[in-house]
Subunit: 251 residues, 2 copies
């Protein structure tokens, strides 16, 4: 593969945090390899050298000067970068998914960091005690945390993004200026995940945030993104990922 | 105050996330105002117009195009930027607290984002169910989460930072290259907070991460930082902040 090919390293069976990077790569029609899934964006199989072993090698090899704390991480030429928001900070200008001014780039990143906070809180609804334990070992605590998340946090986050869309001087269709940025893709994914995991609570909140709801709709219809979402490259939501549908946690 | 003065907006009675920004401003001897505390870095009182009202105005005024989701946020000329890591991304080059290359800046930011994750987890030890509830209402859940944090997460985070220091080609004294960056200041604060909140567990972990322990020591002795830490501008750790000493959560 060419040196310019982006290598995304992430757990192969879940959307997880890797999905925020995948959406950016797919929306920009970037040349990338989803390494731990052993396939390229064109669906070609990689050699045996690829896959989980390659990912774990970078995680653990003493030869990597800047080791990832956790997946996802991106390898691009000599660059190895982890942390979803940092990966998107790196990719944004290269994929044309962020504005040119420092103000736009900083604001887009700030939005991304707030999405990341919401994603962590969504995760912690089913793992409020410890990631190292099963959900089944923390169901009682999960029920409490999920109630707070549904009734307070989802509305607060979506209301804030609604305000951002309302105040955008470039129009109400995108978060920053008048065109698609990586933050729009990530907000699409956050809303999509909330609708999967908390269909009742998310729909209730989205009724009060029509601009967020509209963004979720039209970003999902973006030509290249819609093609991706309809392909088998899009892993289905499942109960090993961040957004899990446990009916007992929704209301 | 001059247009070039940095205005930090944060809750006035806790270190919290604002402290990561304060440390950068103090270490660089920047001209800044701690707005909600109603005082400048020289200890002068501000006018009545300052204080909490100014902070809440920016939080709530429809005239702010890029509203903060939450404090801390920084106002600098026309820039309003929230999210601790984004604030430091903005301040780093301006305060000389980050290297010049894109590689160094991205890596420093990645380190900061990982520190931010650890800070969120430290917070959630005493608020595993809901930030909107008191600690007293979630003590049983806190005991469980704190145990996982002490035994698994603190060692994992500190071990990773130890690895970063070991592999730094610029030497083992700083996280990035051979000089102080905002990530070093933030790691100092993370360790300081862990030692306050979990003295037994943190000391135990630090024995296995001598480079992290040494960084905490020598950064705390940085001339300007030591002067700040010894001044009344440094708010003491307390049980309203992120790092809380609840003896029942340590072991």
């Amino acid at each position: 593969m060419a040196n310019s090919t982006y290598q995304l390293h992430y757990w192969p069976t879940i959307q997880g945090r890797g999905e925020f990077v995948r959406l950016a790569l797919e929306a920009a029609a970037a040349d990338y390899v989803d390494v731990a899934r052993g396939r390229t964006s064109q669906g070609e199989d990689l050699t045996d050298a690829a896959g989980m072993a390659a990912m774990m090698h970078i995680m653990n090899s003493p030869s990597v000067e800047r080791p990832p704390f956790a997946p996802p991480f991106l390898v691009h030429g000599k660059t190895v970068v982890a942390q979803t928001s940092a990966i998107l900070l790196y990719l944004g200008p290269r994929l044309g998914l962020v504005g040119k001014s420092e103000t736009q780039r900083l604001w887009t990143h700030q939005l991304q960091l707030t999405i990341a906070d919401a994603v962590t809180e969504a995760h912690d609804t089913h793992h409020p005690v410890a990631t190292s334990l099963y959900y089944e070992d923390q169901k009682a605590e999960a029920a409490k945390r999920a109630k707070d998340f549904r009734t307070k946090r989802i509305p607060k986050y979506l209301h804030w993004f609604e305000t951002v869309l309302e105040r955008n001087s470039g129009g109400n269709s995108f978060l920053v200026g008048g065109r698609l940025s990586y933050a729009d893709l990530s907000l699409f994914q956050l809303v999509d995940g909330l609708l999967y995991a908390f269909p009742k609570a998310a729909r209730r909140a989205l009724k009060k945030t029509p601009l967020v709801s509209a963004l979720h709709q039209h970003v999902g219809q973006h030509r290249r993104l819609a093609a991706y979402l309809g392909s088998d490259r899009r892993i289905a939501f499942n109960e090993s990922g961040i957004f899990r549908r446990y009916p007992e946690l929704d209301a």
